[in-house]
């Protein structure tokens, strides 16, 4: 049973899967299409106190409160103005605390492409490991390099930090 499951995973891994690509500055990034919940236009967010600077705030996504992360700020890129054509991709992230929905602000959505797993190259070691930790690999798509993101690592680790902070705060408060 378990061996067949592993085999299935391997075949899936060996085959191709679809990736949603989007543009951020001069780079093209990709996320697994199965993680994408929805793509929506920009609307004003509600700020959350004491949030990391790249967490812009929260939005109402059909009744649930969804945090919005600015990937430009997360990747320390130059900040862009939010306009009517700014796009939010809502993705679901698996974290230690279970499934969570997040919105990421990107410059624009490009395309859905098939990616052959065999063509995915590992990310090069660039200085500290944590800087490239969230990159699942690089893949060439029609003479451009697409950076495949591991959103669980990219955002999940952020949120672990947020939860950790909250816990620390609570601890400090109770100690006081």
């Amino acid at each position: 049973m378990s061996s067949s499951a592993t085999k299935q995973e391997q075949t899936a891994g060996a085959g191709s899967h679809q990736v949603l690509t989007f543009v951020l500055g001069n780079e093209t990034y990709g996320v697994d299409i199965l993680r994408v919940q929805e793509i929506r236009g920009w609307s004003a967010v509600t700020k959350i106190p004491h949030a990391p600077s790249h967490v812009l705030g929260v939005l109402n996504l059909r009744g649930s409160i969804v945090p919005i992360v600015d990937l430009r700020m997360r990747f320390a890129l130059e900040r862009a103005e939010y306009t009517a054509i700014t796009v939010i991709i809502v993705v679901s992230v698996n974290s230690a605390a279970g499934r969570r929905d997040f919105g990421v602000v990107v410059d624009g959505v490009s395309d859905v492409v098939d990616v052959n797993s065999a063509e995915v190259k590992p990310a090069p070691e660039l200085g500290s490991r944590s800087a490239t930790d969230f990159i699942r690999g690089l893949v060439p798509v029609s003479d451009r390099m697409v950076v495949l993101l591991d959103i669980d690592r990219l955002i999940g680790s952020d949120m672990a930090a947020v939860a950790g902070n909250a816990a620390d705060d609570a601890l400090a408060a109770s100690a006081a």
Binding site: G63, A166, A173
Partner: protein
Amino acid sequence: MTIDLTQFHDAFFEESFEALDSMEAALLKLDIGAPDKELINTIFRVAHSIKGGSATFGFSDIASFTHSLETLLDELRSGSMQVTLAMSDLLLKSVDVMRAMLRAVQAKQPIDAQRVSDLQFDLELMIAQKNTPAVAVPAPAAAVVPAAAAAPASLATPAGAAAPAASVPSAHSAATADSNQPGWQIVFRPFRELFARGNDPLRMMRELADLGELTVTVNADSLPPLSKLDPLQCHLAWTLQLRGDVSEEAIRQVFEWTEGDCELEIRAIGADADSAASTTLTEAAAEALLTAPGLLTAPAMPAAPAAQPADEASKPEAVAPAAHAAAAKEATVATLDSGSIRVSVEKIDELMNTVGELVITQAMLSQLGTTIEGATAEKLRSGLGQLERNMRELQETVMRVRMLPITFVFSRFPRMVRDLAQRLGKQIDLKLTGEQTELDKTVLEKIGDPLVHLVRNSVDHGIETPEARVAAGKPAAGTVHLDASHRGGNIAVEVSDDGAGLDKDRILAKARARNLVGPNDSLTDEQIYDLIFVPGFSTAEKTTDVSGRGVGMDVVRRNVKELGGKIELRTERGKGSRFIITLPLTLAIVDGQSVAVGTETYIVPLISIVESMQLKTSNVSRLSGRGEVFSFRGDYLPIIRLHELYGIEPRARNLQDGLIVVAEGDGRRVGLFVDDLLGQQQVVIKSLEANYGQVEGVSGATILGDGSVALILDVPGIIRAASLRAAA
């Protein structure tokens, strides 16, 4: 074919727990000496259905224990044993043990076997102590009556019936062995699902055999060939003749549990009945069966129809219609009972969420509707108005689905108070009022523990010993009163007693001794009583296993706070004390005041708002290094500027340009400085934690009419955060 029984486990546990609650309630109502028959029946039914269920699911420990319990109850039911105080204690303990066993099985944990076997021993001891020895079921019956097992056993039956011992000998029939006595003919045709309901025909027939002389004839007409036989279904029917002085009621009682699972005809037969003929016929049928062993489908039934005409002649058929009428009546009752369905809480929550969404969408549309011009605009607006009314109704209805009467919490107290009072040697009357007051299930679940603490405290510390009460000129029995009532959008739950009340001086002395209060501080009464909510504070002179360890009141207050409620204490020395818990009706909705800070909107729960005011310069003073304070009714309250706390660019920096919301949390008051007040509204609370995390000073979020998100402020959290900042 296998049936996955685990799918029924949840329902079994749920029903069993509910049944145990009703058994406990019935036990508490049971009068010593003169027990109400109906109550005993209720108790018996619970034990019986738990036994049946647990046996079906293979929880043999529970089944075995409940069997002993059932035996004892049976003695009570038949009146051969009297209800004593010791017995009612034992039965109450049994309820606890059954509950513990069920919980253990539910959690897939080992059962505390020692506790179970101890109590089971006690139960059996009590049965054994009965004056008359227990009537043992005669062994031959087992050979005669078909086992629940299935087909092959049915072969043994006619064989047994054919033998001279066709009538089952029993304690009763031994004395009245005359087969020409008047009696009853019972045609028992169970439905296929009989076994699934935990009924065992063998047992029932043994019981019948105890009542009189029993002749059993099996009808295996509908028995399928062995290859198609489903052993989980009952394919057999029986015709029974019971001779002796037996009331119809006694017979019906044996079949009580098969109600709705079988066709049952009970007919009286006269003394002159042709028992000889019927015996011969039975014998003939049996012989036919015996001579053709492979013939499982042999018609053994002809015996019955043949015997029937004679019966009808001897006795008018009045009995049968009466029985039918009774059955019909029972059926009506059953239909009425099933006027409710079990729905999982998740489904209701989903429904609530969806309705919440609809409300928001409707609010958006209404807002849009006001801006539309044109010929049809008026029609649109009236339609939207109608929609709004319907929405409100829908929301209220859905909300009410989650509401349960508080009696679900109150019902545990009679037992608890009784046990505690017994242990402490006190006389206590427990008064419950307002039990039908409804509140949200989530609130209901969380209010139980705090109430237990309060009631325990009242019983242990509040109510004095009977001697002390009499000496103080009070009735020997103290009263603990639990009351629930609606007050506006809140529910108030009161726990009051007519005991000793709180000793102000002792609390103060204790607080001084523990350095909670400086030696020269003068406190108001309110502040003194507030000390009992400090963690670790107890004025009890000796710690008992009931209370006095000083954990409790702080937990009570914290729990109540977590529910968005508050707790007040009124007490008078020598007269008693009264705890009043005010709770919101539901956790899903909060009454809030929207406030504006810069471009952001926040919701401040109304329950934490004392008042809102505009400040005059003369009211404000600046303390060096400790921020700003303002005078409010003789007190100086710190000012918390929300825009500073949240790092927002405000519209008003000058205290005179904005407004102060005086808010209360954790017993402290502060002034929250905001730009403007926007309006009051009920908001649906949404979790921030679901996708993000906990945020200090924010208890949740909500969606405003325009679809944007507003954060709901957690005032105690803000006060804590601000005082931390001030300290830093």
